[in-house]
Each structure stands twice: as C-alpha cells, then as structure tokens.
Symmetry: C2
Subunit: 242 residues, 2 copies
DNA sequence: AACTTGCTAATGTATATACAACATAGCAAA
DNA sequence: TTTGCTATGTTGTATATACATTAGCAAGTT
C-alpha cells in the first residue's frame, strides 16, 4: 500500500473507532511526517484527501480537525425525459399545449426573482412514450435571460436542450411530491381516471439569475425515479434514515 | 490567481468552447510545464483536479483525455424522519405496528439476496409529527447480518439509528414513486380518505451484503422531498432535463 | 502471421526545500 | 484594560528531482 494511504488508514481508524470525536485536532503535517518517517508532502496528501472526502476540515494557520457529523445525501439521477425514453429504445414524441407570453402569477414571479406583474414566457408540453403520455412539462422562463424562447420548435428539441445551449447552468433545486392531477392535467395526460402523480418542481440558475421554473407531472403508474449512492465514509453518517 | 488555477482555466476553456471534443488528448504534464513555465508537479495538480471534477480522464502510460459527456445527477437529501421532525422543533413519536420473524416473500428474498423461503425480520412503524402520521416505515431485515434486530425498542430509537450502529453501511439505492395507499396503509396512517402517497423504496448494503429493504410511505399532503445541486462544470452537462 | 522483446512516453509516488498566507497566544506599550 | 506587535506553528503554493508503473508502438524472432 502507498505510504499516503497508510496514513489515511491510520487517521480513518481513529475517527471511526470514536477515539477522535468531532472537532478533535488531527496531527499536523509536520507531526505526521515525523511519526511515519515520510516527507511533509506525503503526509499532506493524506490529510488533503481526507478533507476532500469530508472526514476532516482544514484551516490554514489553525490546523486540521475531525469534521462534524453530517446527514447523508443521496444521489438521484434526474434525466431528460426524451433521452430516458430513447435509452429504453422506445419512441418519444411531444405535443405543445401552450406557448405564450403571460403576466407571471405571483408565485412564479417570486420564484424567478422578478417583480410582481412582470411578463414571462410560459410553455406546457406533453411527452409521450410509445404513444402513452408520461410527463407534463409546465415551464415558466425568465424572458430577460432567454429572450427568444417562444420562437423555438419544441417538438424537435425539448426546452431543456435549448436552455442548456443558451444558458450554461450553474445550479438547480428540486421539490418532489405526490399529488392528484387537476382536471386540466388529466386531460393533457389523456388519463381516464384520476391517479396519483409524481410531481417534480425544478428551478434552475445560470450565473445571471434564475432561468426557469418547471413543474414535471408524471402518472404514478408509468414513472419511477431511481437513485443510487455509495458512501465513502460510512462511519461519518449520523442521521441518514436508512 | 494561483498558477495551477491558470492552467485549469486554460484547459477548461478549451473544453467548454468545444475546441477539444470528447476523447481529445490533453497536453501532457511535461508539455504543460513547458508551456506555462511551471514545474511538472504544478501542471500535474491542474490535471489531477480536472480529473477529480470529471472533466478529463487519465490513464497511466497513455495520457490525459477529455472525458465523455455524462448525464447529470442531482443531490437529494433524504434524512432520518425523526431528525427532520425534531429539526422543525416539532414533536416526534413512533408506534410499532408489526415486529416479527416471517418467511420472506419472494420479492423480499431476492432483494435481500437470500434463497426463496428464507426467514427474515419484518417491522412496520408509523412515525408521527405533532400527532399526525407522516410516514409508514415497512422494513425487512437480513437476519444473518443483524441477528438481534427483533429485540430492539424502536419507540426509543429508529431502526435506522440501530442499523447504523451495527452495520457500517456502504451503499444505498432508492426508488421513488407516487401510489395510492392500500387499505392497511390507510389505517396505519390514520387517514380518513385515500390520498396520493409518496413512496420511497430503499435498499442498503454493508460490506457483507444487503442489510435491509425499507418501503417508506408518506401522505402526499404532509410530505415533500427537497434537493439542491450545483454544477462544477456546466459545459459538461449533456442531457440533464433541466 | 503470431508472438516476444525492448524502447519511449506518460502518469503515479515520494522526497527535500523554500516561501507565502493565516491564526493564535503571549507580551509590550498606550 | 485595551490595543497593537511579534513569535510561532499551521496550512497553501511552488520547484526540482528521482524512481516506479503502465500503455503503446516498433522492431525483431519464431
């Protein structure tokens, strides 16, 4: 095993065993280089990688300390619906239900960080997989950042594909819930009877501000969201509900 | 700006602009150290950090190459329900509905990687927030890995808290969907009328195998799942539906 | 044609050193 | 008591160097 890995193991065990609790100081680079008879750069690498993995925190001038326990996060892949369908070797097509310029509802204006009463672009598109509706994409777009949104052909390319080209995005947030569809949504999904729907609300940012807010509604019977995660540092999980 | 950061910027621009497409070779450590008049170690750091961020791939003996585009993932925080409730300064309590040793249903046996007909532990617990039911935790546990599961008091500590202590976990996978609750679930949630529920299926691993499978059912009206992500490298997002 | 050998270039690990930037404690002066 | 300075220790950046390990290619051998 590489020397830096030996040092990592050593510190890792101290933390996992509980011998070093939260905020406990970790031996400095110089101390470690003496203890293990390695150069400071090698000891440094061990500490740095532990810091990247979130097990310790380092502050220049002060030292290295065992990181506080964190609640664990899970990695969920949320992909472009069109790509997902094509990946299953199924046929995708889209129907544009709404494409307009409207005065933003208050909730939308605040979500897009615009003043109340501002005008925004609004699109509603139904996505089909092998002829069955699997998603309503109800989207409001910031016209200042994407002025030519309304002129696009969203049957050819999804709004996402266009937005990705125009605005390099830097952030996104999601809210997932289970809802009963409205009458309007029911008809857009071509569903006979009401059924639970998985609804994802998504807001996206680029450097200059909020780009768009989308509400994605999926029939529960035709959609699932999958995710997988691996823990680098199992001992550090405090309160993940697992 | 630090020298290694200058080099990173340089390569980053080449990739973002499209000048260097997927799999395009990146200047070697030695080339970069000449071009930028820095030591090889400094050029190396730039390439290494780019590799950690997923923009390039490196293979010893061969070289450094622009990484293929990847679909983007979102980071969802899925926390311990008890902690989440307490964080809102609300009151949490749990009611144990089922705690038994049963022959595993086929689906469960295969999920836990046990032979059909094997016996497993089974618990069902309802979690309350300020007196309102917010989650049914229906869990099957591998008895080989957690032999004393049935002897625990899950009113005091959630199954998660116990499992975390006993088995340091290394992996987890999730499946999220919207469903209508069964009659049984309806009564466990003390709901008058059926309403859409957000259902999370979770499987967890430790080093030695599958630890447990849990089905978490939340009334849609009382639960939302939130997540937030930041992109380190916006240009590399290919098909995230954003 | 198939296999082997050896060379070259690239990344991976490790060392020794120097200086910069920052945090903190302790001490001195106001 | 408060303010400000300094000494010391710690992490951050950078350099020059050496050797190990691996991939890919080319020449030679069977």
């Amino acid at each position: 095993m590489a020397k830096f890995a030996v040092i990592k193991e050593h510190i890792y065990r101290k933390i996992e065993s509980g011998e070093w609790p939260e905020y406990h100081p970790v031996s400095s680079e110089n101390e470690l280089s003496e203890q293990f008879s390695v150069s400071r750069m090698t000891a440094r690498r061990a500490l740095q990688e532990l810091a990247e993995e979130g097990l310790v925190t380092r502050t220049r001038g002060s030292g290295t300390f065992v990181a506080p326990l964190k609640s664990q996060s899970a990695l969920l892949t949320i992909r472009n619906i069109a790509d997902e369908i094509r990946m299953r070797n199924h046929k995708h097509h889209a129907v544009v239900r709404v494409l307009e310029r409207v005065v933003a509802p208050n909730a939308v204006a605040s979500a897009l960080q615009l003043s109340p009463g501002a005008e925004v672009f609004h699109s509603v598109i139904t996505h089909f997989e092998n002829g069955h509706a699997v998603q309503i994409e109800d989207r409001y777009v910031n016209p200042n950042l994407v002025p030519q949104y309304l002129e696009q052909d969203f049957v050819e390319h999804t709004p996402h594909e266009y937005l990705c080209e125009v605005t390099p995005l830097t952030e996104a947030s999601h809210l997932i819930e289970a809802v009963l569809p409205t009458e309007q949504q029911l008809s857009w999904l071509a569903l006979e009877n009401p059924e639970p729907c998985l609804q994802i609300q998504r807001r996206t940012w680029c450097r200059d501000g909020v780009v768009s807010q989308a509400t994605l509604t999926h029939p529960g019977s035709r959609f699932r969201l999958g995710g997988h995660m691996t823990f680098k540092a199992p001992a550090r999980v405090s309160n993940a509900e697992v």
